[in-house]
């Protein structure tokens, strides 16, 4: 009844439910397996910015929710645009390098702006329940978590590329989007423990260290982004 050797597109047409189950199971497995890589890739952005938020599980849970939601938007956005352009299947190195360069530059800018905006972060629990907003005007600013989440979602890390290539083999854009969604869920499970950073009592020292670390990481992303846009080999040893 089931022919495992059938190409995925034909499988999707002739055995739609089984194909869907198999491919979304694959997406979940891929997401779970890619979790450590996602943490490693997102860690330099996520951990310093989490450390600037005030103490408590709730602020951290809120931060992570916004971050992950924005990351999902980044995934979906990329999937839709790339599917429309027909680029999802190939993810050619040159445009991928260009896109990564642009994303790195944007990440650097947002990190620097975030580090600047976090100077008024309140270490102790306070009445202000908002996450750190980028920009001077708190009412119109964008939550830093959202900006960083979106950009990390657009950052074409290797597991994301693998998921993209696999998703492109499915029959329709809707299927590819659902594949990405399930893959995203698999990777996001690994981010849940970061809520535990909320138990670290914040003081001015920790917030200052986190802001300084953001600046250093931003400088690194800036140099890498420029190198990628110039087409330079990042490492040639």
């Amino acid at each position: 009844m089931c022919h495992p050797s059938l190409p995925p597109v034909r499988m999707a047409r002739e055995y739609p439910y089984m194909a869907a189950f198999a491919s979304y199971g694959e997406a979940l497995a891929l997401g779970l397996a890619s979790g450590p890589a996602c943490i490693a890739a997102c860690g330099p952005v996520l951990i310093p910015s989490l450390l600037t938020e005030r103490t408590g599980f709730r602020p951290h849970a809120r931060y992570l929710s916004v971050f992950l939601a924005a990351r999902l938007v980044g995934y979906m956005l990329f999937a839709v645009v790339a599917w429309e352009l027909g680029a999802l299947a190939s993810m050619l190195p040159a445009p991928r390098l260009l896109m990564m360069g642009v994303v790195y530059l944007l990440l650097a800018c947002v990190l620097l702006w975030y580090a600047y905006s976090a100077r008024r972060s309140c270490a102790q629990p306070c009445s202000d329940s908002k996450l750190i907003q980028i920009g001077e005007n708190k009412n119109r600013g964008v939550a830093g978590a959202a900006a960083l989440g979106l950009l990390t979602g657009l950052n074409l890390c290797p597991p994301f590329v693998v998921a993209g290539i696999r998703a492109a083999q499915l029959g329709s854009m809707a299927a590819a989007l659902v594949f990405f969604l399930v893959f995203f869920l698999g990777t996001s499970i690994w981010f849940v423990p970061f809520v535990g950073l909320g138990c670290i009592v914040r003081n001015q020292a920790i917030i200052t260290v986190a802001r300084m670390a953001m600046v250093l990481i931003a400088l690194y992303y800036l140099s890498m982004g420029i190198a990628m846009l110039l087409g330079k080999k990042t490492y040639g040893y």
């Binding site: 450590p36 490693a40 890739a41 860690g43 330099p44 951990i47 310093p48 020292a205 200052t208 260290v209 986190a210 802001r211 300084m212 670390a213 600046v215 250093l216 990481i217 690194y220 140099s223 190198a227 330079k232 080999k233 990042t234 490492y235 040639g236 040893y237």
Partner: protein
């Protein structure tokens, strides 16, 4: 609060008697001979033997002076600066003998022959925990520059000294300590205390980036001491940029700023390994404390500290900051003997000399074992050229 030190009653401890000082130094003398290889059945070559004798005597005399004068900092500094000068001499000479240059060629990295120094240790932990992979092009085994050997040494010395590593073991810190000692007074005196946070930020950033990029990012991009040890030979623009960065950092943080501030600026404002070692001060049994009854906050200790490990708030609490390197500068600077060596759990300022002696025996023994062998190696290199 301005204090006229001329009106203070000088309460520096009287010098210890010569005989008593000699008796206290005797164990160190025996230990020096043992560590320098003078034991039954040991083989000698003339140059190495002369270097070993000089080193053993050097370390013994310094310890004697610590006992005789009841001060620590300036004698320890002589050892530490000597270590900072002689390590590059011996190390760079060995590099030229082995491969003809300070640049590490890719062949050596592939062969796993890159000497391992302690600086990458914090960056190796997470990748090793996640993937059981050591992100350093060395060899793990028991070769003299192997990763296991250096990590084993680091573990043992850290158990004994905590962040005292930065005063008794680090073979890089002596360079800037020597430079800081040159000018009679500091040109830049007002130092923003927030600079103290930078090493922690560098540590956090380097640990996270090293995990993401799976390489020791600090070593590749930021370590200023590549100027006096070794570096990856640049073969493209990015490699060239990396090498320019370390030269600039060395010139700025290790030469210029210590000269202008008379502080160990690389150690206190940048070094992520120092921040990492600070964590071990939490478990170290030895510390510096301030007897609040004797202290009249004149801030002489704060001014004397080369590592900015004393602030007004910490002095008011009667303690140093976590970054304290146990160099003894604050104790020696205090005219009221309010700053004292202390063993955790005991009464502050009750027989502080006992705490000092216990710490110094342990730390100096380690210094002779580790730093002494490096000093002897550097001396032997010089003697080979001279003799």
């Amino acid at each position: 609060m301005a204090t006229d030190v001329r009106t203070l009653t000088l309460t520096r401890p009287a010098p210890r008697g010569i005989l008593r000082s000699l008796l206290l130094t005797l164990p160190i003398f025996i230990w020096s001979l043992l560590m320098m290889g003078f034991r039954p059945g040991a083989k000698f070559d003339p140059v190495s033997s002369i270097a070993a004798i000089i080193t053993a005597l050097f370390m013994t005399v310094l310890f004697f002076m610590m006992m005789r004068t009841n001060s620590t900092y300036r004698w320890r500094r002589i050892f530490f600066v000597s270590l900072g000068i002689l390590f590059p001499i011996g190390f760079i000479h060995n590099l030229y003998v082995m491969r003809g240059s300070m640049g590490i060629p890719i062949e050596e990295m592939i062969a796993g022959r890159t000497p391992f120094c302690f600086m990458p240790i914090p960056m190796l932990i997470l990748p090793a925990a996640f993937t059981r992979t050591v992100i350093f092009p060395g060899s793990i085994g028991s070769a003299s520059h192997g990763i296991a050997v250096m990590v084993g040494l680091w573990l043992a010395l850290t158990l004994v000294m905590g962040k005292g590593w930065c005063s008794y073991a680090c073979f890089f810190g002596g360079i800037e300590e020597g430079v800081a000692a040159i000018p009679p007074r500091a040109r830049i005196r007002k130092l923003d205390p927030r600079w103290r946070y930078v090493p922690w930020a560098v540590l956090l950033a380097m640990v996270l980036l090293s995990l993401a990029l799976f390489e020791p990012v600090y070593c590749m991009w930021l370590c200023p001491f590549k100027a006096v040890s070794e570096y990856v030979a640049a073969r493209n623009t990015v490699g060239l940029v990396q090498n320019v960065i370390f030269v600039l950092l060395f010139a700025g943080l290790v030469i210029m700023l210590p000269f202008l501030t008379k502080k160990r600026t690389q150690c206190s404002w940048f070094c992520p390994f120092g921040a990492f070692q600070s964590i071990f001060n939490k478990i170290s049994i030895f510390e510096m404390r301030i007897d609040k009854e004797r202290c009249k906050p004149c801030l002489l200790c704060q001014n004397a500290c080369p590592n900015l490990s004393l602030s007004k708030e910490s002095i008011a609490r009667g303690e140093t900051l976590l970054s304290c390197m146990k160099c003894g500068a604050c104790v020696d600077a205090c005219l009221r003997q309010a700053v004292v060596w202390h063993i955790k759990g005991t009464q502050i300022a009750w027989k502080p000399e006992r705490a000092r002696l216990m710490f110094l025996y342990a730390a100096w023994a380690m210094a002779i074992m580790f730093g002494g062998s490096i000093i002897a190696g550097g001396l032997a290199t010089i003697l080979h050229f001279v003799v």
